[in-house]
């Protein structure tokens, strides 16, 4: 049984676009990345999955169950929303105790552990906290019951780099203990670091669903060349070349295809420098992203 199973999920907001025909599955123990620009439909997908809004068509299940008909399935889900809001006039500890009261286990020890890791002052009033510290409350709040599925929506927004690192270490250790992680983000770097598989969403549709290794893998190379004299533009006029930036002696482009073909072509010119790198996800993503729009 898949931990998350989303099938042909469509959500319309009146005339406005929500998400269209989204399908994906997340397996036990995976760290799954969900990537897309702001407004692509990431949060809509998550909110439908969690039962906050109803799908127009299709289905979204967690542990084989739908959150709206079986709300108890959320017992095993920890959720960190992209923006955190809490009740007025509560201290951090009050909120965490209230959160804990929804679960059937004693979370006291866990609260203290997590607060220590995330460097969170439990006695402070939530209203007085900065955005980043509120986010920390959200992180702790989402993990106190040791959920088997952790859903994170733009988790690092507002966290300083040190805290981001601690946060990812924390998520990685939860994953090692067996938790499945669904990580939604527009920051490709963090997804790249963490995730085994990734879905790219754009304008409400999934445009790519692939293993991270394949996405990054041998398909694409970032190639930079420097010629001894100005480069002849026609060299790059071949299949597999994209995102070409050519300026005088230097050129930079993405290449997808048989590496021998491009090497033969490049060998015809006198080069002073050549570098071939793995492209980062951002470049790949931009490739998919700009292809049809």
């Amino acid at each position: 049984m898949s931990v998350i199973e989303i099938k042909n999920l469509t959500k319309n907001y009146g005339k406005a676009r929500g998400i269209i025909d989204v399908s994906l599955t997340v397996e036990q123990g995976e760290i799954f990345g969900f990537i897309g620009p702001n407004g692509a439909g990431k949060s809509t997908t998550i909110r439908t999955l969690l039962g906050l809004i109803y799908p127009t068509s299709g289905s979204a299940r967690i542990f084989g169950k739908c959150c709206t008909t079986n709300p108890e399935v959320r017992e095993d889900v920890g959720y960190l929303p992209s923006e955190v809001f809490y009740y007025d006039g509560m201290r951090v500890i009050d909120l965490l105790r209230y959160s804990a009261s929804f679960y059937k286990k004693d979370c006291t020890k866990r609260i203290n552990e997590l607060a220590e890791i995330m460097d969170l002052d439990l006695k402070k009033r939530i209203d007085d906290l900065s955005f980043g510290n509120k986010k920390k409350v959200g992180i702790v709040q989402g993990l106190i019951h040791e959920p088997r599925l952790i859903i994170l929506d733009e988790p690092t927004a507002g966290l300083d780099p040190l805290m981001q690192q601690r946060f990812f270490e924390l998520i990685a250790s939860e994953n090692k203990k067996g938790a499945t992680v669904f990580l939604s983000s527009h920051i490709l770097r963090e997804v790249q670091k963490m995730c085994e598989r990734v879905a790219l969403i754009k304008d409400g549709r999934i445009i790519k669903l692939e293993k991270m290794s394949e996405l990054q893998g041998n398909n694409f190379k970032r190639i930079k060349v420097e010629g001894q004299s100005d480069l002849d533009k026609t060299i790059f006029d071949m299949p597999g070349v994209s995102k070409l930036e050519n300026g005088g002696k230097t050129a930079s482009f993405l290449y997808r295809g048989d590496i021998n073909n491009i090497i033969r072509k490049l060998a015809q010119t006198e080069l002073s420098n050549l570098s071939i790198d793995e492209p980062d996800l951002e470049e790949i993503f931009m490739h998919y992203y700009s292809k049809d729009g």
């Binding site: 949060s43 909110r47 969690l50 039962g51 906050l52 809004i53 109803y54 709300p71 108890e72 399935v73 959320r74 017992e75 889900v77 959720y79 929303p81 923006e83 955190v84 809001f85 809490y86 009740y87 007025d88 209230y98 959160s99 009261s101 929804f102 679960y103 709040q141």
Partner: protein, 268 residues
């Protein structure tokens, strides 16, 4: 249970303020009773003055059918306003408690906990009900404490009890009205204003129908007219049929609150 406690805590400050206001409303209202009964050296008593006023004016202020010279009659008049205050409290509370998660943006927090929306609505309604009971008891106790200070003669505790009982039913109607509006409306934040709008309309209907018997059929849309205050101060108690019909209305609003709330796409 945890959610009920949370709601009670969240509403505690407002409840104290409403309770104190209710007590002051009863106190200051009752103090004025003396002005209605005693003829002053400068002129006739207000009761005599009222006799000279046209019925429509008296109806507008609610004086129409009560004998202001007796504490019971005066009470029936004062009670119109006390009931109005309690009804506003109930309507705002019912709308607010359901709309709160969405207007305070705590939806994503609460609705991702392992609880059903029905359980959430139940907790909220239980907490709201307790608030309404407190306001009702505060009103009853205030009257029982204040009236003997200004009323000579017969004990009217029985009448006061009947009036506050009828007020409880009216409170329940407006509480459930507020709740159902908040559960139904696309933008629940505005449900409080809509609920109070409905309430004031009902109130003015109640005043207008006092002017002419021909308008009495309109009373059906005004909960303020469901119970005849005059009948109660005459010691005739509550009309059981109307109590049951009112409670049926409350039950219908409450049931719809569950239905609408469960179906809605929550605003985040």
């Amino acid at each position: 249970m945890n959610m009920v406690l949370r709601e009670l805590k969240a509403s505690s400050r407002a409840l104290i303020i409403w309770s104190v206001s209710m007590f002051l409303c009863v106190l200051t209202g009752t103090i004025k009773f003396t002005a209605y009964t005693t003829a002053t050296s400068t002129g006739p008593s207000i009761n005599e003055l009222l006799k000279t006023m046209p019925t429509s004016i008296k109806a507008l202020f609610g004086f129409a059918s009560f004998d202001m010279a007796t504490m019971a009659g005066y009470l029936a008049l004062l009670f119109i306003y006390v009931e109005l205050v309690a009804a506003i409290h109930a309507a705002l509370l019912g709308a607010g408690i359901i709309a709160k998660e969405e207007s305070d943006k705590t939806t994503e927090y609460l609705m991702t906990k392992p609880v059903s929306r029905a359980a959430i609505v139940t907790s909220k309604l239980v907490a709201a009900l307790l608030n309404v009971v407190v306001i009702n008891v505060v009103t009853l106790v205030s009257f029982l404490v204040v009236i003997p200070l200004y009323s000579k003669g017969n004990d009217i505790s029985g009448e006061v009890l009947m009036l506050t009982l009828s007020m409880f039913v009216v409170q329940l109607i407006f509480l459930s009205l507020g709740a159902v509006l908040a559960a139904w409306m696309r933008h629940p934040r505005t449900s409080g204003s809509v609920a109070t709008g409905v309430l004031f309309t009902a109130y003015f209907v109640a005043r207008i129908t006092d002017m002419s018997d021909k308008l009495r059929f309109l009373n059906v849309i005004s909960p303020f007219k469901y119970f005849d205050l005059g009948r109660m101060v005459a010691g005739n108690g509550l009309n059981t049929g109307i109590v049951l019909l009112s409670l049926a209305l409350v039950a219908a609003f409450t049931a719809l609150t569950y239905v609408f709330y469960q179906k809605r796409d929550l605003n985040i």
